[in-house]
Subunit: 440 residues, 2 copies
C-alpha cells in the first residue's frame, strides 16, 4: 500500500463545501449576468504572465507579494490583480478593439500576503472597466455605480451606500490652500474613520499646516446634507481653482445622471473624505459599504484614471472601473451571518429504485429530464433509509420510489422532501408538480 | 514618461478576443448547465497546492511539467489536472460529503509542456466524477456517456461517437492467453490507428507472443457489428476467465442502460481497441470522437477507477468520471472551421444621443433596462457614423438615436443593425420589438 499523506491545502486559500460553493456561485453568476446586461464584454487572460511585463510598473508593497518563479527560460509571475492584465491586453490588442472598450473580468488573482484571518492569497476579483481612446465621457462615471447598485440590490445583502467623491475636488481644494502635493494630507484624511477628527487635526499640524488651513480643511470635510446640498455648499465656497471647478462640475453631472439611471438617492452619498489610494485615480472615486456592517469596510471600490496603460503604449487610454473582491466579500457575509449556505441545491429530483427496478427508474428519469426536470438516480446497493437521508443531506426537493406497484400502476410516489407530503402521480403530473413547485 | 515595455504573453497560453471569448463562454456554460442538471455539485479548489500533497503519487512525465516553486517556507505546485485535487478534497472532507459524491469542476490547469502548436500550458478542463464510498453501481458508468451525449448534442458541433470499452474484458482476455501483464500489449494496440494492423502484428511478435496468440488477438480486435453483436460475439468466445466475464457483464449493462437513458445507438460504439492509459482505469473506459474529424482525436475521455485517493486515505473510493479539455477543444473546433466567432454579442441595444440629449438617452435606457433589455449608451463626443460603426463592430442588434424630434414626439427611431430596417416607436413598442426579435 502507498504511503498515506495527510490531505490539506496551503494556508490562506479558500475552499468551500459544495453547499457553500452553490451559494458562492449564485453570487458570482449574479455579478456576471449584471455586468453582461450592461454590455460589458468577457475577458479571460492567463493567470501566469511574463514577469517583466506584469511588473513593468515595479516597486511597491504589491511586488513583494507576487508569486514569481522560473520555469525553463521563462521568468513567470502570477497576476495579483485584473487591472495590470487589462492594461497589457488593451495595449496589445489595441487595433482589434472597439472603444470605448467595456470589459468585465471575473477571475482569481494571487498575492502571497502575510497569513491573516479573512485575508486570502488566492481570491476572486470581479472587475468592470470602460476604456476610452483618448477621451471618455463622464456618463460612464455615473454608469458604474448604476451597475453596482443593481448587483447589490439583487444580492439582497441589506442596505448599502455607494460613496462617491472626485479627486479633482480634493486636489483643487488643497491646491487653493497652497498645498501643492496633497499626498500626505489625503493619507491623513483617509484615516478619519479609524483615528477620529481630533487625531486627524493633530496629524495635520505635524504636516506644518497653518491653523487657518487646518480649519478650512475641517470645515470642508464637515460639509453635510444631501448630495445636492453638499454640491451647493462647495459652489458657495467660490474657490478660484480650475481643477476644483472641473471636479465640481463632474460630480454634479455624475449625481444628475445617477438619478436618470434610477439609482435611489439613499444608496449613494457624496463623501468628501474618501480618496482611494494616492496616485492611480484622477477623478471620480467609489467605495461601497453595507449600512449595517461598517466594520466590513468597502466591499466594492474603484474610480476614474487618466491613463490605463502608460507602461505598454503611448496611446492615451483614460478609463473608469470598479472591482468587487468576491472571495473576501463571501467570507465577510458568512462571518456577519448575512448569508447562510444551508439549504442550497441545484437538483429537483432523486429517483430511488427498489432492487431490480433500476431500469424502470432510468426510463422514468430520462422521460422527466427530457422535459426539463433536473435530477438523477440512486441505484446503489443499500438500504432505503440511507438513500432518503442522502436526498435530505443534498437538499434535493423531491424523491420518487419505484417498485412493482409503481410499475404496475404507471403512477409513482412523489415525495416533497421539505414538507413530507407525498402523492401517487403519473409522469406528466410529476413534471407539472416539480415545475410549479407544489403538490397537485 | 515611463519606459514602454512591449505587451505580450507567455508562449503556450490561450488568450481570446472578446468575440471569441463570448463563443468560448457559451460552450463552457453549456457544459456547466448540463453537468448541474444531472445533479453534479460544483467544486472550486485552489490552483496552488502544497507540492508534497499534490505530488504524492510522484514520478511520471507529468511531474516534470508541473509548475513548482517556493514562496516563504511553502513548497508550492500548480494543479496539473482536476483529478488529484479531487482525490485530496474527497479524502480531506470525507466526513462532510454525501456518497455517491457527484461533483463537476471546470477550471484551468497548468502544465509546463514543450511549446507546440495546439498544446497549451494553461487550459480549461471540465470534469465530472461520481465517487462511491466502498462501492459504486454500474448505472453510473452508463450515466456518464448520457451526460456527454447531451453536451455534444447541444453544442451542435457535428456527429460524434462515444467509444466505450471495459478494461476487465481486455485484462481477462489477455489473461486467458497466458499474458499476465498486458501493459505492453495494450500499449501496442493503442497504436492501432496510428501505425496500422500490420505494424501492430510486428510489434506483438517482438513481445514474444506465439503466432496463435497473435491470431487470437487480431481476431478479438476485429470483432465487428452493432454493439449488441459485438457483445454476443464475445459471449460466443466462451472464455473461461472470471475478470473477462465480469467485464462482459458490465459492458452489457452499460449499453442496456444507455438505451434507457435515451442515448442514440449511433452515438455510441463498443470499441475493443481503446484502453485509456495503462494503470489508472480498471473498468469502463470512454473516448469521444467527432465523426467528420478523426484527426482531432478524442475530445472527451475518462473511465472507471477502483480507488480515487489511495495516497490520502485508507477509505476505498471507487469512481467513474470523464473530462473535456475545453481549451484544446475550442482551438480545434476553430481550426477545423466548425465554430466561427464572428457574430457574437450579448447586447440587444445601443442608445446614441445627439449632443445635448444625453440625459434623455439615459432615461430611456433606464426604462428599457428595467424591462429586461440588455444595453448601454454611447454618449461620447464624436461623429454619428463612428458610433454606428461601433455598434456594428460589436454586433449589437439594435440602435436608437435620440435628438429633438424624438424627445418632442416620444417616439424613437429603432434600427435593426443586421437588416437596416428602422421604425419610429414608443418605448413600449421598442421593448416588444426587441423581445420578439422582430420589427413591428
Amino acid at each position: 500500500m502507498a504511503n498515506i499523506i495527510k490531505p490539506s491545502i496551503l494556508a490562506g486559500f479558500m475552499e468551500l463545501l459544495p453547499q457553500e460553493q452553490i451559494q458562492f456561485n449564485k453570487i458570482k453568476d449574479t455579478v456576471r449576468k449584471t455586468y453582461e446586461s450592461f454590455g460589458f464584454l468577457p475577458l479571460d487572460t492567463p493567470a501566469l504572465e511574463k514577469a517583466d511585463v506584469l511588473l513593468a510598473k515595479g516597486g511597491g508593497e504589491t511586488e513583494k507579494q507576487v508569486y514569481r518563479f522560473e520555469k525553463g527560460k521563462s521568468d513567470i509571475a502570477m497576476r495579483f490583480d485584473l487591472t495590470v492584465p487589462l492594461a497589457r491586453y488593451v495595449a496589445q490588442y489595441y487595433s482589434d478593439l472597439s472603444f470605448p472598450f467595456r470589459r468585465y473580468h471575473i477571475a482569481k488573482v494571487y498575492r502571497g500576503e502575510r497569513n491573516q484571518r479573512g485575508r486570502f492569497r488566492e481570491f476572486y476579483q470581479a472587475d468592470i472597466d470602460i476604456i476610452g481612446d483618448g477621451k471618455l465621457s463622464i456618463i460612464n462615471d455615473a454608469e458604474i455605480p448604476a451597475v453596482i447598485y443593481e448587483i447589490f440590490a439583487k444580492l439582497e445583502i441589506g442596505d448599502f451606500t455607494i460613496r462617491i467623491n472626485n479627486r479633482k475636488i480634493l486636489k483643487g481644494f488643497y491646491g487653493s490652500l497652497g498645498i501643492e502635493d496633497s499626498t500626505y494630507v489625503l493619507r491623513t484624511i483617509d484615516k478619519m474613520e479609524k483615528i477620529g477628527l481630533d487625531n486627524v487635526k493633530l496629524e495635520l499640524k505635524d504636516l506644518d499646516l497653518s491653523d487657518e488651513s487646518i480649519d478650512s480643511i475641517i470645515k470642508f470635510l464637515q460639509i453635510s446634507g444631501s448630495n445636492q446640498e453638499k454640491i451647493q455648499a462647495l459652489k458657495d465656497l467660490n474657490i478660484d481653482n480650475e481643477i476644483f471647478q472641473e471636479g465640481l462640475d463632474e460630480i454634479e453631472k455624475v449625481f444628475a445622471y445617477l438619478k436618470l439611471f434610477k439609482v435611489p438617492e439613499k444608496n449613494t452619498e457624496f463623501d468628501l473624505t474618501i480618496a482611494r489610494g494616492l496616485d492611480y485615480y484622477t477623478g471620480t472615486v467609489y467605495e461601497t459599504r453595507l449600512d449595517a456592517h461598517p466594520e466590513i469596510g468597502s466591499i466594492c471600490s474603484g474610480g476614474r484614471y487618466d491613463n490605463l496603460a502608460s507602461h505598454y503604449t503611448k496611446q492615451s487610454l483614460p478609463g473608469v472601473g470598479i472591482s468587487i473582491g468576491l472571495t473576501r466579500l463571501f467570507f465577510q457575509l458568512q462571518e456577519a451571518g448575512i448569508i447562510k449556505a444551508e439549504k442550497n441545491t441545484l437538483t429537483d429530483l432523486l429517483i430511488i429504485p427498489f432492487p431490480g427496478f433500476e431500469s424502470y427508474g432510468i426510463e422514468l428519469l430520462a422521460e422527466l429530464r427530457a422535459q426539463g426536470v433536473q435530477g438523477f438516480i440512486n441505484g446503489e446497493a443499500g438500504k432505503l433509509g440511507k438513500k432518503m437521508k442522502y436526498a435530505d443531506d443534498l437538499n434535493i426537493k423531491y424523491t420518487i420510489l419505484i417498485g412493482q406497484d409503481e410499475v404496475d400502476q404507471g403512477k409513482y410516489m412523489l415525495r416533497n422532501m421539505e414538507t413530507g407530503d407525498q402523492e401517487a402521480l403519473t409522469s406528466q403530473e410529476i413534471i407539472a408538480c416539480i415545475k410549479n413547485e407544489k403538490m397537485i
